[in-house]
């Protein structure tokens, strides 16, 4: 689905991504792990063309999208749940979800998706008319995921979905991620919480200061001595 080739991104004068290449195959869950500042978020932002790379290419569905407009990517099923949730705090829960479907024509299907999101996150249904800014962090994360699902993603990019959430809620969110993936949505996940991220991943990449230093199947990386030492605290 996504193929990144020798990507270089500068972020305020810093060489944030130093020639990485990676691949996200259709229907899989791919995790990109690494410490704070390794360049994970920048990678996702570059895919969504929120950052302009200096060189390299990003291919999505066999098309070069390196300099495509963000809104066209969303229309084409490439959707990001941004870091820090970024829900529209001044809008109600329902309005946030409607905006998730902004790029789609209103149809029965959109209505069905909305019901489905409410089914996935019953909490959101309870708070439908409430301003998103008045909800807890976990609820806002659910809304951010629900809002992304309303865009009808083919590939869902997720930036630190576990950040700042209680362990129980993290578990819930990851259950939902698995569920979404089973429905055929390809997922690319970045996480500092390496353990949960690698447990559900088909394939994983480890990033360190702008470079991919290790890759392999999720289970293999979990067993890897270096990964254990650096990210799993074992």
């Amino acid at each position: 689905m996504i193929k990144i080739n020798d990507l270089n991104v500068y972020y305020g004068g810093i060489h944030a991504i130093k020639g990485i290449s990676l691949e996200v195959p259709k229907g899989k869950i791919i995790s990109l792990i690494g410490a704070n500042g390794a360049g994970k978020s920048t990678t996702l932002r570059a895919i969504m063309t929120l950052e302009r790379p200096k060189s390299g290419t990003i291919i999505y569905k066999d098309k070069d999208i390196t300099f495509e407009k963000t809104q066209n990517l969303v229309k084409n099923g490439l959707v990001l749940v941004p870091e820090g949730r970024r829900v529209f705090t001044n809008l109600t829960v329902e309005e946030n979800l409607i905006l998730g479907s902004y790029a789609r024509k209103y149809s029965e299907e959109v209505q069905k998706d909305m019901e489905w999101v409410y089914e996935l996150f019953p909490r959101l249904l309870e708070r439908k008319k409430q301003k998103a800014g008045t909800m807890s962090g976990g609820e806002q994360q659910m809304l951010a995921v629900g809002r992304a699902l309303m865009s009808k993603p083919e590939v869902l990019l997720m930036d630190e979905p576990s950040l700042g959430l209680a362990p129980l809620i993290v578990k819930d969110i990851f259950e939902i991620i698995k569920k979404i993936n089973k429905l055929g949505v390809t997922i690319m996940l970045i996480e500092q919480n390496a353990k949960v991220a690698l447990e559900i991943a088909d394939y994983g990449y480890v990033m360190e200061v702008g470079k991919i230093v290790l890759e392999g199947k999720g289970k293999e990386l979990l067993e890897n001595e270096n990964v254990k030492k650096a990210y799993l605290g074992a």
């Binding site: 929120l50 969303v74 970024r86 529209f88 001044n90 809008l91 790029a103 008045t134 865009s151």
Partner: protein
């Protein structure tokens, strides 16, 4: 003061307040979405009156056609100002955009002096609005009924668009977070253009009614009403549409009442607007209906 004269002043205050309100909405909408005071807004208002003037005198259009033409062209002019003066500065520091806004304002004023001439022109008031209604012994110009009515109608339509339509939702989303809005597939530039279009349309509505009430057109006529409307927007709580309307009415009404009750103070009417502004900001710094920005994270 007799009740009759008071009623007369009241109707004048309502009319002036409506005009301030219409212009103030444009300031507040643009501020809400760009965090920018569009200093050229008063000049966009001025342009609309000249469009009507030339449509009627030069192109001999009937007044209602001229009004429609003015609304559309002024809206387009607003979009043009945004394109030329603000868009390329989207990622620049706020101060650069502000200076560009001031520059745009001066440019429009001076272009207007060159093109339209500095000598005052008489706004072609449609016969219909020139009538006066007599209630008992009070004489009220028809325009004084129409102006608040049209303002209220425009406000209802605007609030509907902002609160109930998908475009309105997108506008509110963009006002909170550009990038997150982009991630929803929203074309942020288009939404900003729509905002300028709507704000400028309201300025044109204000312009045509201003012309009916004060039919003396000069290229600098946008200056004072623009400034007053800006004050009205700040009094009401900038970024809040209802606040702009409340501020507009408050300002227009108190200005007229000052003249009514203290005729000797008439020369201070403009200064009075600033006094109100200062007093209200001292009591409530975010304006009367200003948003409480504290939010849970």
């Amino acid at each position: 003061m007799s009740l009759n004269t008071f009623m007369q002043h009241l109707s004048n205050g309502l009319a002036l307040g409506s005009l301030y309100a219409l212009i103030a909405i444009g300031y507040t909408m643009v501020y809400g979405i760009l965090r920018l005071i569009n200093f050229a807004h008063g000049d966009i208002f001025m342009i609309s009156t000249y469009i009507i003037f030339y449509s009627v005198t030069l192109f001999l259009m009937p007044w209602w056609v001229a009004f429609v033409v003015a609304i559309l062209l002024t809206g387009a002019f607003g979009i043009l100002v945004e394109r030329l003066a603000y868009r390329s500065l989207r990622n620049s520091p706020k101060i650069s955009v502000m200076i560009s806004a001031i520059g745009a304002s001066y440019l429009i004023q001076n272009l207007a002096i060159v093109i339209f001439g500095g000598r005052p022109k008489a706004f072609p008031i449609p016969e219909f609005f020139n009538k006066v209604v007599y209630v008992n012994t009070i004489s009220i110009p028809v325009a004084n009924f129409f102006i608040p009515g049209i303002t209220m109608a425009a406000l209802v339509i605007l609030l509907y668009i902002v609160n109930k339509t998908k475009t309105g939702m997108a506008m509110r989303a963009v006002s909170r977070d550009y990038e997150a809005a982009r991630l929803m597939g929203i074309n942020v530039d288009t939404i900003i253009s729509i905002t300028f279009f709507m704000g400028s349309i309201l300025a044109a509505l204000g312009g045509m009614m201003w012309g009916i009430k004060y039919p003396n057109l000069i290229p600098l006529m946008g200056l004072m009403p623009g400034l007053k409307a800006f004050i009205a927007a700040v009094i009401g709580g900038i970024g809040n549409i209802k606040g702009a309307v409340v501020g507009g009415f408050l300002l227009g009404m108190s200005e007229i009442m000052l003249i009514a009750f203290l005729p000797s103070m008439t020369g201070y009417r403009d200064a009075f607007a600033f006094v109100i502004l200062i007093v209200i900001l001292l009591i409530k710094p975010s304006g009367l209906l200003g948003e409480n920005l504290a939010e849970k994270v």
